[in-house]
């Protein structure tokens, strides 16, 4: 037993790694299919369903606006609270605006929005598609020669990416505003100074890298949740499992991608 256990351990690591690779491969195939069908849908028939995409945008994104506004206000306030004593030590209290806005636009706006949308949109998509698998609806689509990826995944992918990016813009502004609240009412400073410092410190690069990342996060959320939903086993437990897995895996992949892209932007841009 003891002689084999290191080997076993290695074996388990190997099989876990293989599982992860296979999973990422599956996601990759779905991504390729989706991109292909999206491109086809833009240029040739059958066209992308505009009304369905619009409906999904409302369903997946618009309903998340209140919660994102609330969460991001808190995030901006927390940043200002946490950083003002440190900045005060250095006599740099006027830099609260800089630190909050750069942190929110570059990192926290995209990230927190993506995490909230994972719970909102990702869980909803996984549960919905999983239920459709259970009810044989996906089989019914396939056998009536309607491609489930074209019919179900493509509108959701477009809607989810568009909404993640749009909501990130909202989140960026609201988060910076949250920091401004603390600056004005707790630190008792001039709001116009805060406003001008924000405009002065933000670079186009800060805004753009944040939005590019948020688009990628949106793609991860919708891809993982579609993959999990369509792969759900035909039972009520299967739908629950798919939903949980899609949330957990999306958050993991979002943060991993965040790390990778942030590093890339750091070195390249």
């Amino acid at each position: 037993m003891s002689a084999t256990s290191p080997l076993r351990c290695l074996e388990r690591i190997g099989s876990q790694g293989e599982g992860l690779l296979a999973y990422l491969g599956g996601l990759g195939y779905l991504a390729l299919d989706t991109l292909k069908l999206t491109a086809l849908g833009i240029f040739v028939r059958p066209r992308i369903k505009a009304d369905e995409t619009f409906f999904q945008m409302i369903r997946l994104g618009v309903r998340a606006i209140p919660i994102i506004v609330l969460v991001q206000t808190f995030v901006g306030m927390i940043l200002a609270f946490q950083l003002s004593p440190v900045l005060d030590d250095y006599g740099q209290l006027d830099k609260v605006a800089t630190v909050v806005s750069v942190a929110v636009f570059r990192e926290l706006g995209p990230l927190i929005t993506a995490v909230v949308l994972t719970g909102f949109a990702g869980a909803a998509i996984a549960a919905e598609l999983g239920t459709m698998v259970v009810g044989e609806e996906i089989a019914a689509l396939r056998t009536s020669a309607i491609h489930p990826i074209r019919f179900l995944v493509v509108p959701r992918v477009i809607a989810c990416i568009l909404m993640t990016v749009s909501l990130t813009i909202v989140a960026d502004i609201v988060g910076t505003f949250g920091g401004g609240l603390v600056d004005r009412y707790v630190l008792m400073r001039d709001p116009t100074a805060y406003y001008h410092t924000v405009l002065d410190s933000l670079l186009v690069k800060d805004v753009l890298t944040g939005l590019i990342k948020s688009g990628i996060f949106g793609f991860i959320i919708v891809l993982v949740s579609c993959y999990e939903g369509l792969g759900a086993t035909r039972s009520a437990g299967g739908v629950g499992r798919a939903t949980t897995r899609s949330v957990v895996l999306s958050i993991f992949l979002i943060i991993a991608a965040d790390c990778a892209f942030t590093a890339m932007f750091y070195f390249l841009w």
Partner: protein, 273 residues
């Protein structure tokens, strides 16, 4: 019945395994145009797997499925879609799209596969729903109607594109006798009026006798009897007789477990003798 003409559906040596278990053993089947073939058998005998293999939802491990002379197993996605456009399927649960109304469900195949005007589509939807007696239910959601009605809507959707072949998975299971009779009548009408070929999977003997041109009984993954309904009125094969008459005692065991009951209860694992 014209059995000499080219078959619409042909299965050659179809085998299917789930792990170690062989679910379909060397299935051979030919269905002539306009024929109604009813496949009967006990639960778990491979009926649903057979149907899923024919419609391309499962790939056979060996053998071929020909639909109108085209090999559906080796067809690429495009060809498979073209073949699939010519057949309709009624799923056991109806498999309605739960996010669409009854009318939208029936309209979907038309919207996706035809260039028909929206006005014409609306008309066709009404006609198909009228055929299953549910014309006034167009605007309801699938969750708001009963199981039996969902199944009838599923049938309306299956015939939306006027298919040449129709597959029914347990069309009458869970329906009241009147609805059962209505579905049976619809199967017969589609055959006589439109010449639709039907493959019905069921364990409802009464409806099998009513609708079938030919009955095939599947047992343990193979056909043990194939013939006109008359052959099944007083069958000689004891297994067929047990099924048709619905007898609890006979060669077909009710208990499917292969391990010894007593040994299993006592926790000592021993295989059945």
């Amino acid at each position: 019945m014209p059995t000499t003409s080219e078959p619409v559906l042909e299965l050659r040596n179809v085998q299917k395994f789930f792990g170690e278990r062989q679910v379909l053993k060397d299935i051979e089947l030919r269905v002539a145009p306009g024929e109604t073939l009813v496949i009967i058998g006990v639960s778990g005998c491979g009926k649903s797997t057979l149907l899923r293999t024919i419609i391309g939802e499962e790939k056979p491990d060996s053998g071929h499925v020909f639909l109108d002379g085209e090999d559906a197993c080796c067809a690429g996605p495009k060809d498979l879609d073209r073949i699939r456009r010519r057949f309709g399927i009624l799923f056991q649960s109806g498999a309605l799209y739960s996010s669409m109304t009854v009318g939208e469900n029936v309209a979907l195949p038309l919207r996706e596969h035809s260039d028909l005007d929206e006005k014409i589509i609306k008309m066709v939807v009404k006609m198909k729903l009228e055929m299953v007696g549910l014309r006034d239910f167009e605007d309801l959601m699938p969750a708001q109607i009963s199981d039996g009605m969902r199944k009838r809507v599923g049938l309306a959707r299956a015939i939306a594109l006027d298919p040449e072949i129709l597959f029914y998975d347990e069309p009458t299971a869970g329906l009241d006798p009147i609805a059962t009779g209505a579905i049976d009548q619809l199967v017969i009408d589609l055959r006589t009026k439109l010449g639709v070929t039907s493959i019905v999977v069921t364990h409802d003997m009464e409806s099998a006798f009513r609708t079938a041109d030919r009955i095939a009984m599947l047992y343990n993954g193979e056909f043990i009897a194939v013939g006109p309904p008359g052959d099944f009125q007083n069958p000689t094969d004891p297994r067929v007789r047990q099924f048709v008459k619905g007898l609890a005692d006979g060669p077909i065991p009710l208990r499917l477990s292969k391990t010894d009951y007593l040994a299993d209860l006592m926790g000592t694992t021993a295989d059945a003798p």
